[in-house]
């Protein structure tokens, strides 16, 4: 393939996937929309933010940017799982091994092996490398480790590989927790202070924004590299290995090399994500090896669609925002962990039951149902609070547009009114009456949004079908009642 063809293909991909471009543009423009930096304001979007900001729906700007950085980190991690498991078919249930290990390697290389000199009395060798180099370094070490794992994994296939990889991080975690290794690994509690990659200025706004820009940049670069790999000849070979190993081998593909290569690439980016996560949380602890971490990215990839690098990123953004912004405000912190896991499990089961290939390759009516259900829910949760009659106090084009949009949404959701009222009653009864939560204005909106989503998405799915049945019943040819329509 020559370069001209390559760029032509790339341009075709870009043309086909306009929503990538819009998503990237949205991510880049978000700080300016949220008012974190003084770029030229976009009037229409600031208006929406003013509506949201009155209620403080997303918390402070800094909080929202922090969450978005977290989304970016999860996005890298999910995409790295997808290139190994979605493309090559080597299902790994223990990707957290690279994630957790990278966190530790980042600490070791940027600080040293000693944990607490006052307690242990051992001052280990110090490296004092810069955290940025440590990040790359941990990526490469993870890739090396993945080569070893990959060589071992050549012997086991399919579900057995999944079992082995499920167990490997647990071994590592239990080794890291042993008292014998306390000076190296920090035992049960791990390392408390992982040095930050960016110089801390002390100004919270600047720090948050810097970390946001850094993480988004890393996300774009690494996902770009992974997409280049996935759309190149390597990606084709990976897919052929996934579909049929024997056929691939009979075509002269070196199975061992490509499998190990997929492991190495995947582990490199997982390592970078792990190092960034450790810097985000400022800790490196054995719980980074948890199976929950490995499964969170699987859930993200399943929701976004396995076998498309972007699917994992989309899933990561959706899930992280749902967990951190939606559920984090509704439920008290004492049961939040359980609620998060419950949401993960239910989403995974429902997604695999109704759309096994994720959002990316769902049936058109399912996609429409998800989009419209969420739109209904947003409209119904925000419209009563936004007081949108106020838009007419100042007459200009934007305000009239906004007003018309709100009116249209309200009209379109009229059939949903009984469903939403009943679901709101039931849901609030469960949350407030049975679980005993006290909801303030902000969490009430979010709780209502959640309830409307749960009720609205099935509703938006079945409503057109009911309409179709009714239409056919009274005006169509089925079920053989009504007017006969010649072709």
């Amino acid at each position: 393939m020559d370069w001209y063809e390559f760029f032509e293909d790339l341009w075709d991909e870009i043309k086909d996937r306009g929503y990538y471009i819009s998503g990237i543009a949205l991510i880049i423009l978000l700080p300016s929309i949220l008012g974190a930096v003084n770029t030229p304001n976009i009037p229409f979007l600031t208006d929406i933010y003013a509506v949201i900001g009155e209620i403080g729906l997303f918390g402070s700007t800094n909080f929202f940017l922090t969450i978005l950085s977290l989304c970016a980190i999860w996005g890298i991690f999910a995409a790295s799982w997808d290139i190994l498991s979605g493309y090559t078919g080597q299902i790994s249930f223990g990707h957290a091994i690279f994630f957790g290990l990278a966190a530790y390697i980042g600490y070791w290389t940027s600080v040293g092996f000693d944990v607490d000199p006052a307690l242990v009395g051992i001052l280990g060798p110090r490296f004092n490398l810069s955290p940025a180099i440590a990040l790359i370094f941990s990526g490469f070490i993870c890739a090396l480790l993945a080569v070893v794992v990959g060589i071992l994994a050549l012997r086991v296939k399919g579900p057995y590989l999944a079992l082995v990889t499920l167990v490997i991080p647990l071994i590592t975690a239990s080794l890291f927790k042993l008292n014998e290794f306390y000076p190296i690994t920090g035992g049960d509690h791990g390392f408390p202070s992982v040095p930050d990659i960016l110089t801390i200025t002390g100004n919270l706004d600047t720090d948050t924004l810097n970390f946001y820009i850094f993480s988004i940049a890393v996300l774009l670069v690494s996902v770009g590299i992974m997409m280049l790999i996935a759309y190149s000849r390597y990606g084709l070979i990976f897919q052929s290995i996934r579909e049929d190993e024997d056929a691939a081998e009979s075509l002269g593909i070196n199975l061992a090399f490509y499998k190990i290569f997929a492991f190495a690439v995947s582990a490199f980016f997982a390592g970078i994500a792990g190092g960034m996560y450790a810097q985000y949380r400022h800790i490196a602890v054995p719980s980074f090896f948890d199976t929950t971490f490995s499964f969170t990215i699987i859930i993200m990839c399943v929701i976004g669609g396995i076998g498309s690098i972007s699917g994992g990123v989309v899933g990561a953004f959706l899930l992280t925002i749902m967990i951190e912004i939606l559920l984090g405000d509704i439920f008290p912190s004492s049961i939040l962990e359980g609620v998060d896991i419950l949401a993960f499990g239910l989403l995974l089961v429902i997604t695999l039951r109704y759309m096994p290939y994720g959002l990316a390759r769902a049936k058109p009516d399912q996609k429409k149902a998800v989009v419209f259900g969420i739109l209904f829910a947003v409209a119904w949760a925000i419209v009563p609070y936004s007081n949108f009659i106020d838009y007419l106090s100042v007459i200009n084009v934007e305000n009239i547009l906004m007003f018309l949009v709100m009116v249209l949404i309200t009209i379109f959701t009229i059939p949903a009114i009984p469903v939403f009222i009943v679901s709101e009653f039931l849901g609030l009864f469960i949350l407030e009456g049975l679980m005993g939560l006290t909801l303030n204005a902000k969490s009430l909106i979010k709780a209502k949004f959640l309830i409307y989503c749960i009720a609205g998405i099935p509703f938006a799915y079945y409503l057109p079908k009911v309409f179709k049945i009714v239409r056919l019943r009274f005006w169509g040819v089925w079920p053989s009642v009504g007017r006969y329509e010649p072709e």
Partner: protein
């Protein structure tokens, strides 16, 4: 044909000679090790001691039998339905907490009566009523009116008897419910009506009589109920969640893992609202086989003192394994089950209902996990009572099954005892290393001999 040929068929002896010899040597070493070597202050020394040897052996056999219960279920499901169900740990949690919930409902644990909040109240007040209505409607629709009355007699006798003797309404209700479920299970297994009637009546009459004698029949019924509940949840989830992804190993694994997460998080939300605070409260209560065995009870036999709970658990798990053997090798359903595991299409041609068989197998396997949970819940040390206790269980089961060979029942039983022995022996030397054993075994076996000790070498579809 000599006796030895019956125990080890000649063809297997020819094929697996070294494995059998090695296993024999391993077990002889394991049995004799605790008698000879003792853990003294200066490391391990040679010191003959009968008592600790017998004690360690009993511990090891009991641990091994528990692992066998877990692993048989896992292996059976893999053999018949060709599914690797990672939800084993989830059903373990479900069984344990279901029993806890029932005990709480019957007001056996008085400490908990004061502090139940919303969801608990819903469960305590509404669950019995809903259960009654659902079961009555269900039984009425599947049976004719004569059979309906006939099925209802056993619950009324047993439950009414318990209420008349003890006066505890809820306990009577649950004992009656267990009788009803015995009848329904018999119907589901397509037993003849005469046998259903016999089983139900035997149960119905024995429960009040045994209660008078002193056998804790209420707790026995609760145990039965929680096991059956676990099995039912497994069967329902198998039917409604796994149908669309049945033929993809990976999707099945992901869905079942999600199920385990769901059960775990429900337990976490309902029973552990404050982080860390309540994790200890389950350990401080003596509710293991309440009435007969206090948690700290010790049986002294021939001068050797052993915790009673371990002996009881050993007996129960042996009974379960024997019942399972009878179920698989002596009943009609067992024949169907083995037929499906050998060749699914051929079995379907002969008229075996594949979906029903696979659902039933997942019910039996996960019911065994629930049973193991009910038994294990009586130990003080190992399953620390928390919602996450399912994961170690899953890892142990995976270790046992990979060692014994996927889908091979005898292999998993032997492997369970290997792992039980090695765990107990290592932990008698240094407890902190006993955690790493199953992991090492899984990895080594997977890499050196991926089909396990007794597994068939099969291509994964």
């Amino acid at each position: 044909m000599s006796f030895l040929d019956k125990v080890i068929p000649p063809d297997i002896w020819q094929k697996e000679k070294w494995i059998i010899l090695g296993l024999l040597g391993f077990f002889i070493f394991c049995v004799s090790f605790p008698f000879i070597f003792q853990n003294t202050d200066s490391g391990i020394g040679i010191l003959l001691d009968l008592e600790s040897g017998i004690k360690l052996n009993i511990f090891a056999i009991q641990t091994g039998s528990l692992y066998a219960l877990l692993a048989i279920g896992f292996s059976l499901i893999y053999g018949v339905a060709k599914q690797l169900k990672l939800s084993l740990g989830g059903y373990f949690v479900l069984g344990a907490y279901c029993q806890f919930f029932l005990l709480e409902t019957v007001e056996i644990v008085p400490e908990f009566r004061t502090d139940f909040d919303g969801l608990m109240f819903l469960g305590l007040a509404l669950l019995p009523i809903v259960l009654i209505i659902v079961l009555l409607v269900f039984t009425y629709t599947i049976f004719s009116i004569r059979e309906f009355i006939f099925i209802l007699v056993a619950p009324i006798i047993s439950g009414g008897g318990i209420i008349a003797i003890d006066g505890n309404l809820v306990a009577g209700f649950y004992v009656g419910l267990a009788a009803l479920i015995i009848g329904l299970t018999g119907w589901y297994l397509e037993l003849p009506k005469r046998e259903i009637a016999l089983g139900s009546f035997f149960y119905a009459l024995s429960m009040p009589i045994l209660y008078i004698i002193g056998f804790p029949s209420i707790y026995f019924s609760l145990m039965l109920l929680s096991v059956v509940f676990t099995a039912c949840v497994a069967m329902i989830s198998d039917r409604y969640l796994l149908d669309t992804v049945r033929h993809s190993h990976i999707s099945v694994m992901i869905v079942t893992f999600a199920l385990a997460l769901i059960f775990q998080s429900i337990v976490q939300i309902v029973y552990f609202p404050q982080n860390g605070d309540n994790f200890t409260r389950f350990q401080s209560i003596d509710w293991s086989f309440p009435g007969i065995v206090p948690k700290t009870g010790i049986t002294t036999f021939l001068g050797i003192s052993i915790p009673t709970i371990r002996i009881i658990s050993l007996i129960f798990s042996l009974i379960a394994v024997i019942l399972l053997y009878i179920f698989i090798y002596r009943t009609k359903f067992g024949i169907a089950l083995r037929a499906v595991s050998q060749d699914e299409e051929a079995a379907a041609l002969v008229g075996v209902n594949i979906r029903k068989t696979t659902a039933l197998v997942s019910g039996v396997g996960m019911g065994l996990a629930g049973f193991a949970a009910v038994l294990t819940s009586s130990f003080s040390a190992r399953p620390l009572w928390n919602p996450f206790m399912g994961w170690p269980v899953l890892i142990w089961a995976i270790a046992v099954v990979t060692l014994g060979g996927m889908g091979s029942l005898g292999g998993s039983i032997i492997a369970a005892f290997i792992i039980g022995y090695s765990e107990i022996l290592v932990s008698s030397i240094n407890p902190s290393y006993s955690v790493a054993i199953p992991f090492l075994i899984v990895i080594l076996v997977m890499i050196l001999k991926p089909e396990g000790l007794f597994g068939e070498k099969k291509e994964v579809e």
